[in-house]
């Protein structure tokens, strides 16, 4: 009887994880990550005329890749699944999100992302000395992302019964911590504390201009160095999953098979 509970749980998880059965999603996400990380690295390393133009360039590139990449990936995924996956192992329509589930999702995003961000912003606004933490962002942001990704991956692995997501999460954590440690070891720009007390709405103090520019460039380098290998990891995982799926389901299903 206890086995009955396991059987039901396994079946529920298989249904939830069916979208990832063929590896296409990881493969495309991996390619997208590599493009995104590459854009960040290129923008940070290629000299530009001004700091502002470089900054706007990064924002532009990243947004275009994200928005375009997202829609292209969705269209490509549907096309691939229609022609490859559904004829082999069938079609399952993803569960619709109910209003109650959406409310829980929004609440969790608010509690886990928006609220901490607002708290950080409040700390930076109210405590001028805390603004020095901004200059160590190239170290703690990749580490923090690694931790966030491992938590999300492990939750997904548990909900969908996909052990490979645990390995992906572990890989992302290691990559995040490694990039963070690398940036930490490289040291941070020296910032005069009194300059941090400058009026936030006023002009940027000259003494902060160079450290800020260095921090922004290093931030994009560290994010690029983090995102590219994570993308490669996703792509490799997707490729292995795809090859395994193809081996198990070499031809589309027919009445005779």
């Amino acid at each position: 009887m206890d086995n009955t509970i396991d059987t039901a749980d396994t079946a529920v998880k298989r249904g939830r994880g069916y979208w990832f059965v063929d590896g296409f999603t990881e493969l495309l996400a991996g390619v997208l990550f590599v493009l995104l990380g590459g854009a960040l690295l290129a923008r940070a390393l290629v000299p530009q005329d001004s700091f502002l133009s470089r900054f706007m360039g990064i924002v532009g590139d990243v947004s275009v890749i994200k928005v375009l990449g997202f829609f292209v990936a969705i269209a490509l995924l549907s096309w691939l699944k229609d022609r490859f996956t559904y004829p082999r192992t069938g079609f399952a329509r993803g569960k619709r999100v109910t209003l109650a589930e959406l409310a829980v999702f929004v609440r969790n995003i608010f509690l886990l992302v928006i609220l901490p961000l607002l708290a950080c912003a409040a700390v930076f606004i109210l405590i001028p000395d805390a603004r020095v933490a901004l200059f160590s962002m190239p170290a703690w942001l990749p580490g923090g992302l690694g931790v966030l990704w491992v938590v999300l991956s492990w939750v997904a692995a548990e909900r969908m019964g996909l052990p490979r997501f645990r390995w992906l999460g572990a890989g992302m954590l290691v990559a995040g911590l490694a990039v963070g440690a690398w940036q930490w070891a490289a040291g941070f720009p020296v910032v005069p504390v009194e300059a941090l007390h400058a009026d936030l709405m006023g002009p940027l103090p000259e003494v902060l201009r160079a450290p800020l520019e260095e921090t922004v460039i290093r931030l994009y380098i560290s994010l690029g160095v983090l995102i590219v290998p994570v993308g490669v990891l996703f792509a490799v995982s997707g490729l292995i999953t795809f090859l395994r799926y193809r081996k198990e389901n070499p031809v589309p299903y027919t009445e005779e098979s």
Partner: protein
């Protein structure tokens, strides 16, 4: 009869059958699915699968929908609210009889 044993005898017989339990569990995690998906995931034979799907439909737990995917006719199976509620209730009943954290009854 003790409380857990009485709960055991009250279990939904339609869902309690292992093959149907797998089908209902699979359908509970998606909006709808086609015959091939259920066939591959349940590893039942086509005949067996048809019989169990009919049984679930008769019980009002399942709805069969004829749709089109592109120009190709497509049959999809979807749990009805009654079916979803029966599955939730079944899991809750099993969970209260067998609590893995506290050991077996």
């Amino acid at each position: 009869m003790s409380a857990p044993l009485s709960q055991l005898s009250d279990l939904d017989r339609v869902i309690h059958e292992p093959a149907r339990l797998v089908l209902v569990a699979l359908l509970s995690s998606v909006e709808s699915a086609d015959f091939l998906f259920l066939l591959k995931e349940s590893k039942l034979t086509k005949g067996n699968l048809s019989v169990h799907l009919s049984r679930l439909e008769e019980a009002g737990y399942l709805k069969v929908e004829k749709t089109f995917r592109g120009k190709i006719p497509h049959t999809e199976y979807r749990l009805t609210p009654k079916g979803r509620s029966a599955f939730d209730q079944y899991r809750a009943s099993l969970g209260s009889i067998f609590d893995p954290k506290k050991g077996r009854v």
